[in-house]
């Protein structure tokens, strides 16, 4: 394959990876947003506040632990029975 073809293939793959990771990047970016009001849809200012106490919300922490426990149980089940 020629250099040009390799370059174009690489560019096209970068586009595909870009489409896959664009929403993830938004998600990461908006975790540093300081929203006024209840919605976190517009960029309003940088803050680390959301990351200072990640386990402060008791209900969210409980849901997270339930998810972990269920995932662990499902993984063990799959390891033993494979279905």
């Amino acid at each position: 394959m020629s250099r040009v073809a390799t370059f174009l293939l690489g560019l096209w793959s970068a586009l595909a990876y870009g489409l896959l990771y664009a929403p993830i990047a938004v998600m990461v970016l908006f975790s540093f947003n300081a929203p006024r009001g209840r919605f976190n849809l517009l960029w309003q200012g940088f803050t680390l506040e959301n990351w200072r106490h990640p386990l402060r919300d008791a209900a969210l922490t409980q849901a997270f632990l339930t998810s972990l426990a269920l995932a662990l149980a499902a993984a063990c089940w799959r390891c033993c029975w494979g279905a």
Binding site: S2, T6, L9, W12, L20, P23, I24, V26, M27
Partner: protein
């Protein structure tokens, strides 16, 4: 008064839902086909790069394709609404590049909006199903014996003919498996049309949800589900006709 569940057989439900929701059904399959087509155009070169140019980075590149699927696809759809919204970065980029006229004639932009258009729903579907297209293709391409490519080079075959006569025919099982794995979930997707589409971009799963949970018409919802299952089964049978499941590189 005691209420009992009485079952009486009505085939009329099926005829009615087909008449009432045939347009939505057609739209669902149209969106799913378009998303799969665009996905294939993105996925095939990516699979080629991973297989033939990946080198020692191959496992990492495959992992990077799968990694976004580990996050919730609900969250990813909501992230897309942020990106595609009226004051979002994608629309600003389109305007600054002067592409808005072209995209309006192509039907991507509608009334100057990207969100709540068919294009945004199809974009959301494409990105969710991209890994399911890439993985079977990579597996199918891995199965190609490199000696065949060397033999083609020995016979002074150019890269284009090498692709059309060696790589493409041998990658077709991967294409079939990818189509199967992406068309079925795309046709029944709920989240992407709900967040990225407006009322005119609802797909069949949204209609079923609405019938069951809002209009409380369980028999019609069931009939519509059965019609959808029958159509998908028909599509699967047509795709798999004359092939055995073993030859498909299903991951």
């Amino acid at each position: 008064m005691r209420r009992a569940t009485v079952f009486t057989v009505h085939w009329s439900n099926h005829r009615e839902v087909l008449q009432a929701h045939g347009a939505v059904l057609g739209r669902s399959f149209r969106y799913a086909l378009l998303a799969t087509g665009i996905g294939l155009v993105l996925a095939y070169p990516l699979a080629l790069v991973i297989r033939f140019r990946g080198g020692r980075w191959q496992p990492l590149l495959i992992g990077l394709v799968v990694l976004p699927s580990l996050s919730s696809y609900l969250v990813r759809a909501i992230s897309w609404t942020s990106l595609l919204g009226d004051s979002g970065p994608v629309l600003a980029l389109v305007h600054s590049l002067g592409l808005s006229g072209l995209l309006t004639t192509l039907g991507v932009l509608q009334d100057g909006r990207l969100l709540n258009t068919p294009a945004s729903v199809i974009l959301g579907l494409t990105t969710t199903l991209l890994p399911f297209l890439v993985l079977p293709l990579v597996v199918a391409l891995q199965r190609i014996d490199t000696r065949l490519l060397e033999a083609a080079a020995d016979l002074h075959v150019g890269p284009l003919r090498c692709f059309t006569q060696v790589v493409w025919p041998l990658s077709r099982p991967g294409l079939v498996a990818g189509l199967l794995l992406s068309l079925i979930p795309a046709a029944g997707d709920v989240v992407n049309p709900q967040f990225l589409g407006g009322p005119n971009q609802r797909m069949i799963a949204n209609t079923i949800e609405n019938l069951l949970l809002v209009q409380l018409q369980a028999p019609r919802a069931a009939a519509l589900t059965l019609v959808l299952m029958a159509l998908i089964s028909l599509a699967v049978v047509l795709q798999l006709r004359g092939r055995s499941l073993e030859e498909l590189p299903l991951p």
